[in-house]
Structure formats: structure tokens, C-alpha cells
Subunit: 484 residues, 2 copies
């Protein structure tokens, strides 16, 4: 299986799941369906199908580190996974083209299995069965996709029309007639009654040589730029290393110049070489808060109530609450999403307009679309409890054995109170332990490090004092996570 | 004016404005309309009409101290005000009967002006003009009330029907034919078209001798109990002081035995002796979140949006937000109320069911109906920022010159970090100053006191450590506010 590679597309910003999704915590990093986050579920789903070394995550440079930290909890599985970094987001056609360059460089026989990182798929066994069928069929140079048998006239999905829907080829494939963009309700109803239409799952299998040929044919400008990018990615020998420093800018310039275009629109719709496997697994692209209705079990009144909620007499209501109480009375077809710093209340008909809220926040220079109050880190997490004039209060949680970077702040001092566990504190040349119910003080301009030397979680309350208490007042001297 | 007394009825628990109202912060203590809280507006409205010494607040024993602290910001005006404490809440008829005992004891010529503490009245001049008219008319032994000219077929108010609506008596009074409970919509429409119906404002003027006679006639059992209570309230001479300690229980028992009944239902509806003044002021009883529509100015789409809000395309929406962001999309006829620990989302048609949410919280032993995260105190306020296993974090704000009680905790220690101002700390026999960006530690079982000796507000962050971090772990030795 060494020529088979799984490419996980993880560039999505997921504004449609705001306020649960943020710039630094896009949809693929959310636990909205199932027991784990969508991207970790995606990785676990294909575990064993290819070796971890053959799993690639394509994402933008600014998201790569957050995702790397995020998947670290998968242990050895995560260690093998490699990242393909897009300098900027340019939709799926360029992302797949870039990935094809990498895999083709390894071997001209490489086969790419491309899949989104943020879709819901139940029944892993059926999924892997269908995938196996697909990889057996790529040898003849086809583009292979998976179609979902539609259960309702959905207007939020693209559709695939197959030829001769009544008879499937003996190898399990249909020949694809054509692709359709999201239809209007009337058209969607026609599609459903026709019987030869399937939902486009966005999961594809092809040889890298095939997809590069298709890109050359249908998106020649993308192909041309990829050919310019290729020598920048793979330096032929040691002598050229000196030039490496110039690369990022050139690569960034080239990639930035690309047109944002999806693989469906740019390639699939124009190709005459597409086969479709009717999927046996359940699937949802989780396109909006309203899409959860398809995939999460509802109560007798059609309600989905998660977290700390009390409801009286609502119907078809979705509530995603956390620890704060959300009380609802007599609502119909609504979505309520509560997070520590922002609450969304919307009618289900208007969920797509969540994007507009995020745009409004960006425009006004606000922060509720960027970071959550709680930020996950490889060493644990921190939660901003309050920010006031000249101070900020954080709860910092360190996993056993973890430590923060050796760092310094030029504009704030910090008071630390240990509320559980034991802290090992380094302050310039001094190192000492701080126990539960003890405190310590880190003056301004002092090199310091916080470490959890114990076997239980360490929790400290940090009170920062200073006229400037933002995250960017930090100088790192040594870091276990390569952030110096 | 020494015989004229204003009795402010402040026993309401105001569950209908949850989550903004709480057991310890009922509706009268909320700033929902106007620039100040409803009870402080009520007091300021009648300032000058009677001397402060002739203003009485009737409320239950458990609310009296909170209200006392709450009105302290009114300064000298608040100092004169006296409290009449009901041992338990028994609705307005017993509360007014009890007040009549007090005022009648002062002088048999006393006149009582009874008014709710939690209604909205705009135009104080007109209000005082109408009140003046009323107090001039009580001498002939009438019960005088104020009727509001109805502007819509409201089903949430009681109605007053007057005799000969076409001709008002020369002194400005109508004779009242009868009172009506809240009508159904059909009846309400008949009332409006008839022209002789007014809304019952719940503001009354009468001589104490008159109301006591009316109670004797219509609620003989209440009268009988009041007669038993009377000698317990007013000890005739010093010799009886020894018996005083037995009083509270007896008084509590007697008062608790009373039937809960409103003055409207118990007296006004049965009396043939009622005159009504058509009010010239604007009024709302603020009976629910939906009632705000009558009194608060709306935008072009019928929305009331307060606090940190972003809305896209809603109509007839009321949002009460605080510092947290509330984003709304495409809502119709809804109310959203956000507080630091609880959010309410309800259709306007169902706002009355907020009571059921509060009942549910009580039943489940929860806390979201009892206290706010921020608790106002005469010395300032405190905000619970987080409570975790074995710790609690508070921000404590002290007014210049204020100090907390000299106190001790048997189950927790406290770390204090000063984030603005200067703290004077007493720890057993030691007293010292703690400046901004300095901290101090109060061990378990240590007498301590926090004081603001400066001219600016003092803010400290308090991290409590201990296996039990509740408010009732406190022993007070000396307190400026009489709480030892």
C-alpha cells in the first residue's frame, strides 16, 4: 500500500459554526457530532487503511500549528502524519494540485485518496469497504468519487447524475453523466424523483498522474503555476540549499496568485472520466447548524439539547450550551449556541447568515471570532477568566510532565496561585516548587518557566498586572514545542 | 404634611424578570427602564412630596437588608426611610394592613399613600400633581385610586369601571362602579370601546382609619389577626421589654397564618367607597419581559437591543445583553436576556412561563435563580469569576473609605492581588498597606479585614483555597453595616 496516500483537506475556516468555531478553532477541530473532533475522527477512520506515514494534512500555514497540536492526542498515529502547507487558502483545486505535486514526487504511481476533514461519516467499516473498492478501480485512470443516495430534496448539496442508473457496472461503479451545483427546491425535487441523482460527498480517489493531467486539461493556468512551484518544493541537491531561504516568498507569491476554485467546479464538472461508487455509509457535510438535524438524534419534539439546558415547550430547537445555563421557552425551528464569550440565536431558515455576523465582527476589529476564552495547547490549556483595565486573569492547566516555554514579558508581571497539583517554577537562575494554596510572583522582565513535575494535573490562577496584557508580549528562549 | 405617609410595597420576588431578577435582586432592584433601578426611581419620584421620615418600605424580612443596602446610594434621603418588615410574604392586603397599624399608631389621622416599588412612571410632575389631588380628597373617608386611560385591549391588567364616565366630578374624581380582574381578549376589547374602563394602577391613597375599617368589613379574619399583632409591635412601657424576645416568633406565627390575598381582590373589589382619579402620567406595571414593548423606545423594526448585541434582520425582538456578545438572526416576537451565568430565549407569547423555569431551578437545588455573579454591597461589590474544585476566584471592588467586616474563615485561606488602588489589610494584630501589583495571603482561621484607605476605587482579585469555599464560612467580629 506504499503508493496509496490519504490527503485530508483541512483548510476550512468554518465560520458557519460560529460561535463554536473560531479562526483558531475551525469546524474540523469541533466536537459537534460523535465522541471526538471531526478531524481526529477523520484520521481515526482511515487508521490502518494506509500507514500513518502516508497520511497528509493539507491546510494553510497559519492553521498548521494549531492542527498539529490538536491531533497530538492521537499519539503515535499523529507522529507519522505530515503537513502540506498552503501559503494562503485558495480552495480545493489548488490544494489538491499542490498535494499531487508532493505525492507525485514520491512516486509517479502514487494514488491519492482526498477527503474533507470536517464531514460526519458513521459506520467506518462500510466506509473502508467502499474505499477499498475505489482504490481497486483507479488503475485505469479514472477519477473516482462517492455518491450518497439522497433522502430528501436537499438544496445545500451538489448532485451527481449517473448514466444508466438502473444497472450498476459489475465492479460496483456507475459512469458519471454530469455534476450539478446546489439546486433550487423545485429542481431538487425533480432530482429525487428521477432516481439517477446522488449527493456529491466530496471524497475522491485518483492517481496523481491522472489528476495532474486533468488539471492540465481543465485548469491550465493552475497547472502552469504548479509547474513553477514544483522546483521550489524539491531542492535537487545540497548545493542549492543556500537558495532555500528565498523560497517561501516566491512560493507564497505564486500560490497567492492562483484563482480560488473548488475541485468540483474546476475539474469534476468538466471531466468525462468520472466514475461514482454509491456509498453504503451514512454521510453529512455538516454545512450549517441546521444540518445537525440530519445526523444527531432528536427528542420526541424534534429538539437537540446539549449542555446545561432547560426547555419548556419548544419544537425543532437545537441548543448547544456549555456550562452556563441556557433556558428556552416556546421556540420553533431555532438554533441557540452558547459559548463563554458569545451567544448566537437564529432561526434555522437563516443559519447561513452566521457568516455575516463573523464579517461584522471582523469589520469592527472585535475578537469573538478569533479565539475562544479557553485555548487548547499541547501542554494543556488556558482560560481567560477576566480582562480589565491593567490586569488579566487566567486559569492555566498543565498536563503531568508538561512545561511552558522559558519566557519573559516586558510589560507585565504575574502572580501565580496554585489551586491544584504542584508547580515547578524557574525564575532566572532560581528553581523552586510551589504547592497547592501557595503563590509566587514573576516580576516584569524576568525569565521564567512553569512546569508540572507531578503525576496529576497542575492548575494555577495567574493574575497579570501591567498597562499592556496581550498575548504578544512574550519572548521565548526555549520551548518544547518549537515556538522560539 | 406630617400625617401623610408614603408606603412603598417592595415584597415582590420578580421571578418574571429572570434571569435579570434573582431572589436577592428582585425586579424593584433592576435598571430595566430609565436611568436608575425601579425602587430608587420610586423613592426619588416622591422626594419632597413627604419628608424622608414619612417614607416607609414594606418588604419581607429576608429582603429588607438587601434593599436597605441597595437604596443607600440615595444618601440622606435613604437615611430617613424606615422599613416595615413582613415575617413572610402574604401579598398586598396583609402588607397594607400591617403598614396601617404602624401609621395609625403614630396618629389616628395618618394618611397612607401606597404604591408599588417596581412600576414604571414617566413624568414625575404630572404624577405629583395627581397625587396632590388625591390627598386633598381623602378627608371624607374614601379609598382613592388612580386609573390609567387604556390604549389597547390589554389582558394583563385589572380594569376599573367608573360611573358616569362622561362627566367627571368637579374635584377631579370619578366614582368607581366596580373592579375587574384581568379580562380575556374579547372582554378587553369591549372595555376599550365602552370608554368607562381604566387600567388599575395599584396606587392608592386613604386614611389609615378608613382602610382599617374596610379591612374589618371585607376581610374580618385579617382584621382580627392584625388586632392580635398590634400589641406585639408597640410595647407600652419599659417593663414589658423583657417580653420582647418572645415577640418575633409570635408575630411570625400570626403573620404566617394569614391568607395571601391582594388588596385589589380583598378590599377594592368589595368596597362601595372608591373614587378614581384619571392619571395624567404614563404608567406600566412591567409585568413581564414583553411589557417593555409599551415603555421602551423601539427601532424601525420594533426591536429593543440593549448591551453588546449584533442583529441581522429580526423584528419585534427584545435583547437585554450585558458585556458578553449576543448575536441574533431572523427572529420574530422573541425575547433574549443574557446574564453572566444564564441566558433566556423565549417567544413573547410565552414570557409568563419564565416562572416555570425558576420553579425548575428551585426544584433541582440550582443557584441561577438566587444570586447574580456580581453582588452589590454597601461597601462596593464582588463578582464570582470562577468556582472550581477546591477554589473560588472573586473580583472585589471597594469604594473609597469603605471596609469589609473584621472576619475569619475556618475552611479556606485567601490570596489577594491588588489590581488597582491601595488596600489596607488587617491580619490579627498586624496592619499594612498592599499596593497595586502586590499580593498578600490570609491563612485559614486568621482574623482579617480589607479596607480602602484611598481616594480611588480599590480592586483586588481574591483566590480562595479550601475544600469548602461557600459564603456561609464567615465569622464576623466587627462590621460597619451591623452584620456581626
Amino acid at each position: 500500500m506504499s503508493d496509496f496516500h490519504v490527503v485530508i483537506l483541512a483548510g476550512g475556516s468554518g465560520t458557519r459554526f460560529w460561535p463554536l468555531s473560531r479562526e483558531t478553532c475551525p469546524k474540523q477541530m469541533l466536537k459537534i457530532v460523535g465522541e471526538d473532533t471531526l478531524i481526529r475522527q477523520t484520521i481515526k477512520r482511515i487508521k490502518g487503511f494506509v500507514p500513518a506515514e502516508n497520511i497528509w494534512i493539507v491546510t494553510t500555514e497559519d492553521k498548521a500549528q494549531d492542527i498539529k497540536f490538536h491531533i497530538e492526542s492521537l499519539g503515535s498515529l499523529a507522529k507519522g502524519i505530515k503537513f502540506i502547507k498552503e501559503p494562503v487558502g485558495r480552495n480545493t483545486a489548488p490544494a489538491i494540485g499542490l498535494s499531487a505535486l508532493y505525492l507525485n514526487h514520491l512516486s509517479s504511481k502514487s494514488v491519492m485518496i482526498a477527503m474533507p476533514s470536517d464531514h460526519a461519516i458513521s459506520d467506518t467499516e462500510k466506509f473502508l469497504y467502499d474505499l477499498k473498492l475505489a482504490v481497486e478501480g483507479v488503475k485505469d485512470g479514472h477519477l473516482i468519487t462517492f455518491g450518497i443516495k439522497p433522502t430528501r430534496p436537499e438544496t445545500g448539496y451538489g448532485y451527481i447524475k449517473v448514466e444508466n442508473a438502473s444497472k450498476m457496472a459489475p465492479n460496483g461503479f456507475f459512469k458519471v453523466d454530469r455534476f450539478f451545483e446546489k439546486p433550487d427546491p423545485q429542481t431538487a425535487r425533480t432530482f429525487i424523483s428521477d432516481g439517477s441523482y446522488f449527493w456529491n460527498s466530496g471524497i475522491f480517489v485518483w492517481k496523481t498522474s491522472t489528476i495532474l493531467s486533468e488539471i492540465k486539461r481543465s485548469l491550465p493556468s493552475l497547472y502552469h503555476t504548479l509547474k513553477k512551484i514544483e522546483p521550489l518544493l524539491f531542492v535537487p541537491n545540497e548545493k542549492s540549499k543556500s537558495k532555500e531561504k528565498e523560497k517561501p516568498n516566491t512560493l507564497t507569491d505564486l500560490y497567492s496568485s492562483l484563482e480560488s476554485i473548488s475541485i468540483d467546479y474546476g475539474i469534476m464538472e468538466k471531466s468525462h472520466n468520472v466514475l461514482m461508487i454509491p456509498a453504503t455509509f451514512q454521510w453529512s457535510d455538516l454545512g450549517s447548524w441546521a444540518a445537525l438535524d440530519e445526523i444527531i438524534e432528536k427528542d420526541d419534539f424534534g429538539n437537540i439539547l446539549k449542555g446545561n439546558t432547560i426547555d419548556i415547550g419548544s419544537q425543532s430547537l437545537t441548543v448547544f450550551a456549555g456550562e452556563r445555563l441556557v433556558a428556552t421557552i416556546g421556540l420553533r425551528d431555532m438554533v441557540v449556541v452558547d459559548t463563554p464569550d458569545a451567544t448566537l440565536v437564529t432561526s434555522k431558515q437563516k443559519v447561513q447568515e452566521v457568516r455575516k455576523i463573523v464579517e461584522e465582527l471582523k469589520k469592527n476589529g472585535r475578537e469573538e471570532h478569533v479565539l475562544h476564552k479557553t485555548v487548547e495547547r499541547p501542554w494543556g490549556s488556558y482560560t481567560v477568566l477576566e480582562k480589565g483595565n491593567g490586569y488579566k486573569i487566567k486559569r492555566v492547566v498543565l498536563k503531568p510532565g508538561a512545561r511552558l516555554s522559558l519566557q519573559l514579558h516586558t510589560r507585565r508581571s504575574e502572580h501565580w496561585v496554585v489551586v491544584s497539583g504542584i508547580a515547578k517554577v524557574t525564575k532566572e537562575n532560581e528553581t523552586y516548587l510551589v504547592h497547592n494554596n501557595e503563590s509566587t510572583y514573576i516580576p516584569i522582565n524576568t525569565r521564567h518557566r512553569l512546569e508540572n513535575p507531578g503525576k496529576v494535573t497542575l492548575q494555577i490562577i495567574e493574575v497579570q498586572n501591567g498597562e499592556y496584557v496581550e498575548e504578544d508580549d512574550i519572548e521565548r528562549f526555549d520551548d518544547d514545542y518549537g515556538r522560539t
